[in-house]
Symmetry: C2
Subunit: 515 residues, 2 copies
Amino acid sequence: MEAERGRRTGGAGARRRAAAAKPGAFPWRQLRNPYPPIEVLTPEQVEAIHEASLRVLEDFGLRILFDEARGLLRAAGAEVDDGSRRVRFDRGLVMEAVGKAPAAVRLHARNPAHDVEVGGDKLAFITVGGPPNASDLERGRRAGSLADFSDFIRLAQHFDVIHVANQPVEPVDVEPQVRHLETTLATLTLSDKVPFVFARGAQPVADAIEMVRIARGIDAERMAREPSLYTVINTNSPLQIDVPMARGIIDMARAGQLMILTPFTLAGAMAPVTLAGALVQQNAEALAGIALSQIANPGAPVGYGGFTSNVDMRSGAPAFGTPEYAKAALAGGQLARRYGLPYRSSNVTASNVADAQAAYESEMALWGALLGGTHLLMHGAGWLEGGLTASFEKFVLDVEMLQMMAAFFEEIEVTPETLALDALHEVGPGGHFFGAAHTMARYETAFYAPLVSDWRNFEAWQEAGGLDATRRAHRIYKQTLAAFEPPPMDPAVREALAAFVARRKAEGGAVLDGA
Amino acid sequence: MEAERGRRTGGAGARRRAAAAKPGAFPWRQLRNPYPPIEVLTPEQVEAIHEASLRVLEDFGLRILFDEARGLLRAAGAEVDDGSRRVRFDRGLVMEAVGKAPAAVRLHARNPAHDVEVGGDKLAFITVGGPPNASDLERGRRAGSLADFSDFIRLAQHFDVIHVANQPVEPVDVEPQVRHLETTLATLTLSDKVPFVFARGAQPVADAIEMVRIARGIDAERMAREPSLYTVINTNSPLQIDVPMARGIIDMARAGQLMILTPFTLAGAMAPVTLAGALVQQNAEALAGIALSQIANPGAPVGYGGFTSNVDMRSGAPAFGTPEYAKAALAGGQLARRYGLPYRSSNVTASNVADAQAAYESEMALWGALLGGTHLLMHGAGWLEGGLTASFEKFVLDVEMLQMMAAFFEEIEVTPETLALDALHEVGPGGHFFGAAHTMARYETAFYAPLVSDWRNFEAWQEAGGLDATRRAHRIYKQTLAAFEPPPMDPAVREALAAFVARRKAEGGAVLDGA
C-alpha cells in the first residue's frame, strides 16, 4: 500500500506522499486539543455532583453480581451484603483507589506509528462499536456480518483521522463462542491500529489479549506493561454491575489493558430525569467501577466514560445528540478532570438514516464531546439509529466531520508573515489576492480540503449528477474498499494468529458469561 | 392567531398556550448565552491583529468612493486624497470614534413583546438575507419572487426562535425602484418583528425608516431614539467602500438606526490567504466603517460583523462552515469584545442542497459563531449554496438547529431536588425511572422537544413513510404556511402604510445608487 510505504520511509516528503495516496484524507497525526474546555458547570456545581455521588456510594451503594468482585471490595474495606449483593463504598476508599489511576495512557498498536496518547491535551478518534445491524444505500439495513465487520475495519484503517479500531458491527453470522476470535483476527490482519475486545467472559478477553500479544510479537510481561487493546464496561444502570462487566473490569486491570468505565445513564429511563441527577448517577457508577479496577490492580489504565443522554418523554425512545447530550458531555469532562482521569465521550445520533438530522445531532455530540475535553471519542464514525446500525455512508460523513474538527484544532498562526501587511500593500484597494505572491506560496496547504463536501457552484454540481452528501459518501466508501490493501504483516505472525484461532475453534471457542 | 392571543394575555399560562399553538416551536424568549466564549487567539494575538489593522488604516488606508464620506472624515482629521479617493486614518482618530459606539442596542419591534436586546450576554437570531434564488423540494430552484419573500417572512413570524427579520430572498419580480417598498410592506404586515433595509441609496433607506415609523405609530424624534430597523454594510473588500455602502453608513447613523459593518473577507480571494491576514483586513475595514458612523453621529448604534471564510484553493469557489470559518468566527468575537461592540456572525454553508453537508457546515458555523459570543446571528435560517439560494427546507432544518442551540444555552440546574438522591433511593439498583415520582413531576418540560428530528425506532419510522429530515422539513414548512395567520395590525396603520407605498410608487419609487 502506497500510504504504508510512504509512512515507513519517514520524513515530511513521505507524509506528503502518504496524504496524496489517500485523497481527501488527513495524514496520520496524534491530535491535540489546544482550546480550554467549555465549562457548563460552576466549580461549586461540580463539587455538588461529586458530593452527591459519594453519598450514593455510601448510602445506597451498588449491586454487584460477581462474587469475586464483592470479595475484592470487601477485602479493601467496602461494606458488602452478600444476600442483596449490595456493596457500599466509603468515600475514603473510593477516592484513594481512584487516585491510583493514571492520568494518561499510551495505547500501543502493532504498527508503532499508530500508537496513540490519551490524556492531557491529546485525543484520539475511534470507530462506531457494537451495532447489531449494518446498512448502506445499495443493500439497505441488514443484520451485521463478518464481511460488513471487515469492510468497516478496512475503512478504519484507510482513514487516518480514525486512530483506534472498535468492533464496528456485530457479526451475527459468526457463532458467539468464536466471534471474538474472528473479529480480533480481522482487526489485526486488516488494520494495524489498536483493537477492541468485548468483556463477555474470562476466555474471550484472555484470547484477545493473547492474539494482540502475538500480533505485536512481544512477551507477556511487556504486554502487561503496554496497553495494546481496550474494552468498554457499561454498568447496568441504575447502580448495578453484572457478572461479565465486573469480571471484565478485574481481568483487564490485571492484564494492564485499558478499561473505559461508561455508565449508560439515559435521563428519564435508567437515570433520573434531571441532568444533574443523571450526572450524579453516572459519576457514582463510574467511580465505583474505576475503584474496583484499581483495587484489582493499582495503576491499571482506565478511562472515565460519560454517556448521559435523555429519552423522548413522549415515546420513551432514547435520543442522542440533543442539547441535553451536549451539556452532559461537557459536564462529564469537568467531572473526569476533577479526578484526573482520561475522558471518553461519543459521536451519536438517533436518526434512522444518514441525513441532515444525523449530521446535526452528530455535530451537537461532537462539539459537546470535543470542547468538553474528550480524550477518546468513541462511535466517532458510522453510528446511526441510536447505536442499532453501523452505516457505511454515515462512516464517511463522520470522517469528514472528524477531519473538520481535527483541522479546527490547528491553531491560527499569528506571525509577521501571516498578518500579511505586505500582501495587503501588494494587492491594494479593490484588488484580488488569488495571484498574489503571499497566496501562491501558501495556497496548497492553507485550508482544509474536504472529503465529501462539494463546493462547486450549483450548475457544476448539477452537471456532475446533483448527488447529495449521503450519495457522495456512498461512492467514496465503495471506492475506498475497492482500492484497499491491508497493511503489511510478517507471514510468521499471520500464521501464528491463524494457528491460535484454529486451535481455539477446535477447542469449541469460549464460554461466555450470561450466554 | 392562537399564539398571538396567548401572548397578548401575558403570564406563564399564556406562554404555555402559545407554545402549544406552535407545535415543536420554542416560545418567544430573549436568548442569553451563559457560557464564556471560546478564545482561539491569545490576548497577545488579539493585540497583534489589532495593531496590524491600525497600521493598515494608517499606512494604506481605505478607498472611499462617496464624496460626502471623505468630506466628513477629512473634517474629523483623517488624511484624504481626493484624486485616489484614499483615506488614511490616524489610530487616535479611529479609536476615539469607535469608542463612542454603544456596547449594546435594544431593537424595537412594532410588537413591543418582540423587542430584542443585542449585546452583553444577550443574543438574537435572524433569517437568511439576500439570496437571488428560492428553492424547495417541490418547485426546485428558481429566481426569488415577492411570493417567496412573503412566505419566508411568514415562517420567520411563526417560528419564535427567529427574533429579527431580514430580506430572506430577493424578489426579482418586483421593479428595483419600488422593491424596498414592497419588501418593507410585506415584512411589516406579515410579521411584527424588527425589519431590515438594504442600503441601496438615500431614498430606499429613508422610505423604509418612514414605513417602520408609521407601523410603530411613533413620531420621528422617538424613532431616532429607538433603533427599529437595521442594515448590513459590506465593505467592498479589499480596503474599499463604494457609494451606496458609505451613504448607508452615514444615513443610518444619522437616523439612529442599527448599522452592522461586515467586511466579506474571503481568505485567498478578497483577503489574504492566511486567517491572521484576513482578520487584519476584516478588522481594519470594520473599524474604518464604524468610525465613519460615529463621526456622522456619535453614539449611533452599530455592530461589528465578522464574515471571514476561505475559498476552495482548487477551484476558487467560496467555502462556508469550514474549520477556518469556525476559527475566524471565534476570533471575530474576540476582536469585537476588544472594542466593546456588539458582534454579528452567520450560519452558513456552501452546499447546493439541504442535505447532511448543509447540516454539518451550518453546525460548524453555528458553534463557531455562538460560542464566539455572537450577539446577532444573521442567515440563521434558510441560507444555502453560499448565499445564492434561500431554501424552505433548510429554513426549517435551521430552526431546529437554532432551537437546539437555544436549549443548549439553558444552564444545568443543580439543586438538592435535581441532584435526585431521593429518586435514586426510590428506584434503586436495576430499576427504571420512567414512572418515578421525580420523573412524573418533570417529564413534560425536562428535555428539548424537537421540530424535525424523528426519534422513533426504525420500524415505526419506516412505517410512517421513511422520510429523511429534509423531506420532513418540507412537510413542516408547507403545514406552517397553510396554517399561518398574520399578526394583528391596526387598520388605520395598515391604510397609512398602503397609502405611503402607493404615493411613492406613483412618484416612481427610489433612485438607487449604482443602478
